[in-house]
Symmetry: C2
Subunit: 567 residues, 2 copies
């Protein structure tokens, strides 16, 4: 490719406009994907005109500066289009720096034999340049660490890795909607701001206007000081005086006009007093009542939080329209600095009426398989990039999960297998015995070593699970299930929900929770109760699983974690 | 239909299981939609077995209590399936109350001629009952107002109206994804928690852990009081003494063992002191610094808010991968008690690189048309319900918008038309003159009266628009556009973004905004800048437009507004 002789522009077959590659309907360019992602690699478009736009990945002058090669990417696919610009067409020095934005029009040509590309663009006109000063550009061509890129979160989508993650994330999101829509589920927007707490556990972010309102009051009080007690007393005196005047006039049977006038004055004095009294109450600082913050003055007249899960709310729809799901952001205010936790992350939570734990497992398995197959069908280019740069096994993993039936074992069986493994010499950091929750090391042993495929563990001990999970006939376990997959361990957690009114009421009380905040949830069991189940999939976990990337902060566009919420 | 003679169950043709209607893949029922939404209304399924599940809309005993008719709905479509249950099969009294959940198995039959239904279910087995006490059920069969239903937000999805809205909302959401995916846009999850303020305007909710952290400290201090100054002094003294011991031993050239031991004691004393000093600093109340709240101790070590728009953040992706959109919740802490405002609402915000205002208008028009067509193609049953119950014209409106080219006029032309209208006798509450923002009454006049179709108004005066909108060559207007539609007025607002570094920097300064918080946004213009544009569609406005419902609180599952955030 390098140094190959290039024909001069005037020898190019002049293509007519009717030979042009159809451009994107709402922009001034042909997506590069439309050229390069064809089965023929684009060679069938040779001779056609095209206007493309994108950013220069690499650029270099050749032939003593008589022309330049640019590798241009527009984000529509991981592949770059090679373009050749003649020095007669544009100032090549401005075009070659990495990161330069270019809009280019020209003719597609099959490059000389022996080159990697199957099509390239011979540029005839440069229609746009967004230049870059290479000395200042924060993300030059050199290989940058993902950690470094987190400090330039607004520019990192311009890198190959973060743009590939964006395409894979987009594909998984649309696959999610497609899967549930095809199965007749309704997408329900559960609330972000909530006054319920899903499990009585979990650190929550508070949502409030108390602080900003207090700041406003403080500013106002500085500009316009509040009345003194003397001001109030004076105003009270005036009301008293005006009142006496009215009384005197009335008892003296004065004229209607005089009485009306005096009443008007009294009213005015009263209004003035109440205004002063209102302002007198204004205090700097956040409003307090009985030694506590006065949430009666907050925006929602009560404490409000960011949701930790949409499950309880989406159940209200499952108990009315049968098959539903929610897919949205959820929040945890935990001070976790690990590579697996975010303060803001996305969850997919289906909920199915007239369905039990087995249906739940069937749905979870079908959904995960669908996602894997979707990526293989729609994102193989990006997956190749991931396999080359992050995780050699990621494509094989998708293929395996898409095609292998998931193992299903009870929690009791899982514990037995783990105890056996320990007897066989396997060492775990935390002890395994019936009744404890499985640690990540146990989960990964089961899926990665023991079965080497996805495993669904079901029927967990009641004591380690949430109040809403259905109590099994043994009274010791609940109808919960977790889906474990290689690379990330737990990908999905779900359960059949307790639909029996008395049982769930007793469970709430048993766990020391108050009934009152759950009355609405109990109503779903009081009136027309239905067998139902659901699960939650951590969307970023699915991305870690798919891409092989190690840190969750790199698979969400704008990561939020302790000390960090850029943009 | 009423009183029609029913054959006894034993005369029904015993259908084999292979004749059963295929049930939902992940639940124990055939969706009623699969039966009734067929072109033949279900009659072609006669003779087949089916297990259905749902909730009783109306139920009544007939034939002196020998059988009952139930109208059952499962949310899969607005239509109810009529079922007939024989008294020999179940206790009819438990089945007939409105709201009862039933799981029913039986055989589908064509009802006697002269009835409305084209298929009905003859029940052979009642597999589930979730009873209702009609005396206590909060939403009985009687017609309830939408206002009343807002007080039972957890049960209102069981009503015909709210479930129809849920299906229409679901359809519009999936149509949105389908439209943008088909046009090669990537779905980007912009952040909910943000430290940027989109326009320097708009009341924002604050997100904080300062208050809950302070509450934790207070509880802890009560349980475990902080050290006194004397405690600190004593600990300091101990450090001093231990230090002196180390010094003495060293100068006396004591044994290594003795020195090591004394150093260990010194280290321990120092650790104890620093622990005490740490706890000594704990103060009840929200942490302050220099007379202000100390956000350095907040979760993100700075003030954080709920986003008012994902636009600025999604631009970082448009400037890297070209065509993107975000679709998620946004927030305004405005004390608006109108039927058009919510504190939490959903927005669709595409952003397109290599595109100008014309492309933006083309995209907006194509998107709105696509949504309307989608509803006509996928939700006609629900739209019929809306037309019957809320807005006779709603289906015609969808048809008109789906098929009519939108009128496009400049702001200047719009003002001229409005001034003409005033001259012709039309009265508006607010004055129209060049330079003022159009009020809702003006917008509705243009789209409902003047043109009687959607209108796009473009090129607004610079002074009334945001800093990021591209300044036109006249220096007086910016490349902004609003899409106005009958019934709701403004449905979409968008603009071409200012891509010229110097121009946008000067605009920020001109508007009295600080540069520093926008440096990241300026970087997008500093490095490889690109012509780009985008718009925002208020998703609930689209629902008001489609359904004809008047209050925005009824088209979102869990409305949030001042004083109200149920569940």
């Amino acid at each position: 490719m390098s140094g190959q002789p290039q024909p001069p522009v005037d020898q190019l077959a002049a293509a007519t406009l009717s030979d042009a590659v159809p451009k994107h309907e709402f922009s001034d360019r042909v997506p590069i994907r439309s050229i390069l992602a064809r089965p023929d690699g684009g060679s069938g478009l040779a001779g056609q005109r095209a206007r493309i736009g994108g950013w220069v990945k690499t650029g270099r002058k050749q032939g003593s500066g008589s022309f330049a090669f640019l590798e241009v990417n527009d984000g529509s696919c991981p592949m770059n289009l090679q373009v050749i610009v003649d020095a007669a067409v544009a100032d090549l020095g401005v075009l070659v720096p990495t990161g330069t934005c270019v809009g280019l029009e020209g003719v597609l040509k099959v490059p000389p034999e022996g080159t990697k590309q199957r099509i390239e663009l011979r540029v005839e006109e440069v229609v746009h340049v967004g230049p870059v000063d290479p000395a200042k550009y924060p993300i030059p061509k050199t290989k940058l660490t993902l950690e470094f890129l987190r400090d330039v979160v607004h520019l990192r989508p311009k890198t190959n890795t973060i743009s590939a993650v964006a395409r894979i994330r987009n594909a998984l999101a649309y696959a999610t909607h497609t899967f549930f829509q095809e199965h007749g589920f309704l997408y329900i927007h559960t609330p972000i701001i909530t006054t319920s707490d899903c499990e009585g556990a979990g650190e929550m972010f508070q949502v409030t206007t108390l602080i900003s309102d207090a700041e406003k009051v403080e500013k106002e009080l500085i500009k316009n000081p509040p009345p003194s007690e003397a001001d109030i007393e004076a105003a009270k005196l005036l009301v008293k005086e005006k009142g006496e005047v009215v009384a005197q006039l009335k008892s003296a049977k004065a004229s209607k006009a005089d009485i009306t006038e005096s009443v008007a004055e009294l009213t005015k004095a009263k209004e003035n007093l109440s205004k002063l009294e209102e302002r007198f109450k204004l205090k700097p600082g956040i409003p307090q009542k009985d030694g506590k913050l006065d949430y009666g003055q907050d925006f929602f007249t009560r404490q409000a939080f960011l949701t930790v899960s949409g499950q309880l709310q989406v159940e209200t729809y499952a108990c009315a329209v049968s098959s539903v799901y929610t897919f949205g952001p959820t929040f945890r205010a935990e001070h976790s600095h690990t590579s697996r936790h975010l303060a803001e992350f996305w969850m997919v939570e289906p909920e199915i009426a007239f369905a039990d734990l087995k249906d739940d497992m069937n749905c979870a398995e079908a959904y995960v398989k669908f996602l894997c197959k979707w990526l293989l069908d729609h994102c193989l280019d990006d997956m190749d990039f991931m396999a080359k740069n992050f995780d050699k096994t990621c494509i094989d993993r998708l293929r395996m999960v898409a095609s292998t039936p998931f193992e299903r074992i009870s929690y009791t069986e899982a514990v037995e297998l783990l105890v056996e493994a320990v007897k066989g010499g396997k060492q775990f950091e935390s002890k395994v015995e019936w009744g404890v929750d499985l640690a990540s090391e146990h989960e990964r042993y089961l899926t990665e070593v023991k079965f080497q495929k996805p495993v669904i563990v079901y029927n967990y001990p009641k004591g380690i699970k949430a109040f809403y999970m259905r109590v099994n006939d043994d009274s010791k376990t609940v109808a919960a299930m977790d889906v474990l997959v290689p690379k990330v361990g737990e990908l999905i957690g779900g359960s059949q929900r307790e639909e029996r009114f008395e049982v769930i009421r007793d469970r709430i009380l048993e766990m020391g929770l108050p009934l009152d905040p759950y009355e609405w949830y109990l109503d779903l069991r009081r009136y027309g109760t239905v067998k139902h189940c659901g699960f939650g999939l951590g969307f970023e976990r699915m991305l870690l699983f798919a891409t092989g990337i190690d840190n969750i902060r790199d698979v969400i566009p704008f990561p939020r974690y302790p000390g960090r919420a850029d943009l």
